[in-house]
């Protein structure tokens, strides 16, 4: 089952090319050109595992989008993407619950490994939650 990634950046060309490259590497890629678009897409019920989010966007910026995503989908892992000038905002993003951040432009290998780490973290989380639920059910049965 391919990892489902949502790519959010205001640069159309960047998003489309990145999507193609990730697609070639067997990932299922959704794209959005703004924070709002990304939130709409998530609200549409797409089962996304990892969000790659540009920090600096006009309108709703990366941090705001991150906060909204984390509020709505706490298990969703977000990797921040930033230029040099906004390392501080990336760190702020980490504080708001981002999985990690990457300097833009970044190497494909690095990005892929970050995505897979994030994906496995999410999977681990979900497993834990499932186990907890199962235990919960088992305990109730045991009652």
């Amino acid at each position: 089952m391919p990892t489902r990634v949502l790519l959010v950046d205001d640069e159309q060309a960047f998003v489309s090319t990145m999507a193609k490259r990730l697609g070639k590497r067997g990932l299922k890629v959704y794209t959005a050109n703004s924070g709002q678009e990304a939130l709409d897409l998530l609200a549409g019920g797409e089962n996304v595992e990892v969000v790659i989010l540009d920090v600096k966007m006009p309108g709703m910026d990366g941090i705001e989008t991150l906060q909204a995503i984390k509020a709505g989908y706490p298990l969703l892992e977000v990797v921040m993407l930033t230029g040099h000038a906004t390392v501080e905002s990336a760190i702020e993003g980490m504080r708001h619950g981002a999985f990690d951040y990457l300097m833009k432009p970044c190497e494909m290998d690095v990005l892929l490994s970050k995505i897979s780490q994030a994906q496995s973290k999410k999977a681990a989380h979900e497993t834990k939650i499932l186990e907890a639920r199962a235990q919960n059910i088992a305990l109730r049965r045991g009652d």
């Binding site: 640069e11 060309a13 960047f14 090319t17 990145m18 193609k20 490259r21 070639k24 600096k56 966007m57 006009p58 309108g59 910026d61 230029g83 040099h84 000038a85 906004t86 833009k104 432009p105 494909m108």
Partner: protein
């Protein structure tokens, strides 16, 4: 030039202040003390001299009275008018000489027709006839008479005391000659200083005492008050003080006069004022000297001190100027740093895209160009790389055109063009802050005289500030230019958070910032203020909290002659 003028006037005012403050009291003190001293010293001196003269007047008067009464008594008791007159007179003369030493030079007995009947004394006068002599006439009239000084028959200056008495049937006159030298001694011991001498004159101004060295032959210059002298001031009715200028020497002379012999004679004390007040004038000369030396010293001090102060001020000014330049430089660096960060980010985006495209092409090449539509994909990617490269080029060109204007020289600047460039540079930053930049530029704006790099700094700073103010919520930034009379108006308005009233007053102060430490230097606006001031313009700010802020800059348009000069040069 104005600096030089300023320093000169500062120099002058320092000197003037020092001189005024230190010399005025000194001068006042000296003048007051000298005046008081002068007045009281003169009063004292004159009073002393008056006392002296008064005493001598009394002495002389009593001397004359005494002699007169002596002669009167003698004439009464001796019962002259007989045969033994000559012998008795001789005896009397001897006795008087013995008792009075030389007061009485001789004695003579004159009958009513003026013939000398008896005589005792050193001169051989024979039977002199005095009936034509003034004194004889006077004594026949008045019974007693003291004559003025005269030479008489003996040819020696002398004066006589004559008394008329009744001897037998006819009146007789006893005549005594007073020793001139003895009499003069009464006056001579009034000798004060170098020129203070006393003498006696009669109504005609003829000396009745020996004229001595330092005294003029006659006394015609005696003030009329002396010769007509009756009365005088109330305190010393007998003694009068007057001052006159001696025409022969031109010196101021003090006269103290007192009447003798019921006003027939006058005791005159005469002294050069200069001599009388010698101590006074010496003291005043000394004071003046000390004062002059003091003034000289103060003046020198003032000169040296003011020069030193001025040097310090100049140094301080220079270092302040240097500091200002450094501050402006620092501010410039800060704004350029901010700009650079913006530019770096702006370039970073196309670079990231190009790298992605390159990576994509690599992916396609790995797969083989003949597969599917890979060829077309590659071509698309290359086109995208070209597009992004063009974008980078535009950015670098903008930056270059900005950087080229680092010339700090003042020249003719087209403000609108400058505004367009800076807004273009800031547009990317504004986009991320959700700020819409709008430039409303008046056409046909005259050029202004300014340094392009400084103007850039002004605009960049204002626009950066405006964007900062709207970063949270976004908004509109309007940069507008228009012509107002001879001035060009430039305003930068934002719809940001506004500036609280408390901060407005300090807005242009150096190092005033509301940004967190490390974010702002607090220099931007103060530097702008300095730059605009230097251009002869002014900057004002209107701000309402939560509504927005407008910075209005008024810059004088270029002067006509300069403009034509510029056109010629072009």
């Amino acid at each position: 030039v104005s600096d030089k003028h300023y320093f000169q006037s500062l120099h002058r005012s320092i000197i003037a202040t020092v001189l005024l403050v230190s010399i005025m009291p000194l001068l006042l003190l000296v003048i007051i003390v000298a005046y008081r001293f002068d007045v009281s010293y003169k009063d004292k001196t004159l009073a002393h001299l008056q006392e002296l003269v008064l005493k001598h007047q009394q002495n002389i008067n009593s001397f004359l009275d005494e002699k007169l009464s002596e002669v009167k008594v003698l004439s009464e008791v001796m019962h002259f008018g007989g045969e033994q007159d000559q012998q008795r007179l001789q005896k009397l003369h001897q006795a008087l000489s013995y008792a009075h030493q030389r007061s009485f030079v001789d004695l003579g007995l004159v009958n009513s027709s003026g013939v000398l009947k008896a005589y005792a004394g050193p001169f051989k006068l024979g039977n002199a006839n005095y009936h034509k002599a003034d004194w004889f006439k006077a004594v026949m009239e008045k019974d007693a008479y003291i004559s003025d000084l005269f030479l008489g028959l003996r040819g020696v200056p002398h004066f006589i005391i004559a008394v008329k008495f009744q001897g037998g049937s006819s009146p007789w006159i006893l005549r005594a000659t007073i020793d001139f030298v003895e009499f003069c001694r009464l006056v001579e011991d009034i000798s004060v200083g170098r020129t203070g001498r006393a003498f006696i004159v009669n109504r005609e101004g003829e000396y009745q005492t020996s004229s001595r060295a330092g005294l003029p032959k006659n006394a015609p210059f005696l003030p009329t008050t002396v010769s007509s002298g009756k009365g005088g001031d109330n305190k010393r009715p007998q003694v009068k003080v007057s001052q006159a200028v001696d025409p022969s020497s031109g010196a101021e002379v003090i006269f103290i006069t007192a009447p003798l012999k019921f006003g027939e004679w006058t005791l005159v004390f005469r002294q050069d004022a200069e001599d009388a007040f010698k101590d006074l004038s010496q003291t005043i000369r000394m004071m003046t000297m000390i004062m002059l030396v003091g003034i000289g010293a103060i003046t020198m001090m003032a000169l040296i001190l003011s020069r030193r102060i001025l040097r310090r001020i100049k140094q301080a000014d220079q270092s302040k100027e240097m500091m200002n330049e450094q501050v402006i430089e620092a501010g410039k660096l800060a704004s350029v740093g901010e700009l650079a960060a913006g530019i770096a980010h702006e370039i970073n985006n196309p670079v990231a895209i190009m790298m992605e495209e390159a990576g994509w092409i690599q992916d396609l090449l790995d797969e083989g160009l003949e597969v599917d539509e890979n060829m077309r994909e590659t071509q698309q990617s290359l086109k995208q790389i070209h597009t992004q490269g063009t974008r980078c080029k535009e950015i670098t060109h903008k930056l270059l055109s900005f950087a080229r204007k680092i010339d700090p020289m003042v020249k003719s600047v087209a403000l609108n063009e400058l505004v367009r460039e800076i807004t273009a540079l800031s547009r990317e930053r504004a986009r991320f802050a959700n700020v819409r930049i709008e430039a409303s530029l008046a056409s046909g704006l005259p050029n202004i005289e300014a340094s392009p790099s400084e103007l850039q700094q002004v605009l960049l700073n204002l626009i950066n500030n405006a964007i900062d103010a709207m970063e949270k919520e976004g908004g509109d930034l309007i940069v507008s230019t228009r012509l107002d009379g001879d001035n060009v108006l430039l305003s930068v308005e934002d719809s940001g958070m506004g500036i609280p009233k408390a901060n407005l007053a300090r807005l242009f102060d150096p190092f005033f910032t509301t940004k967190p430490v490390g974010k702002g230097t607090g220099l931007g606006l103060s530097i702008i203020y300095g730059i605009i001031n230097k251009m002869g313009g002014e900057i004002t700010v209107n701000s309402t909290v939560d509504v927005g802020t407008a910075f209005n800059i008024r810059i004088p348009q270029m002067k006509e002659e300069n403009r034509t000069g510029e056109t010629d040069a072009n």
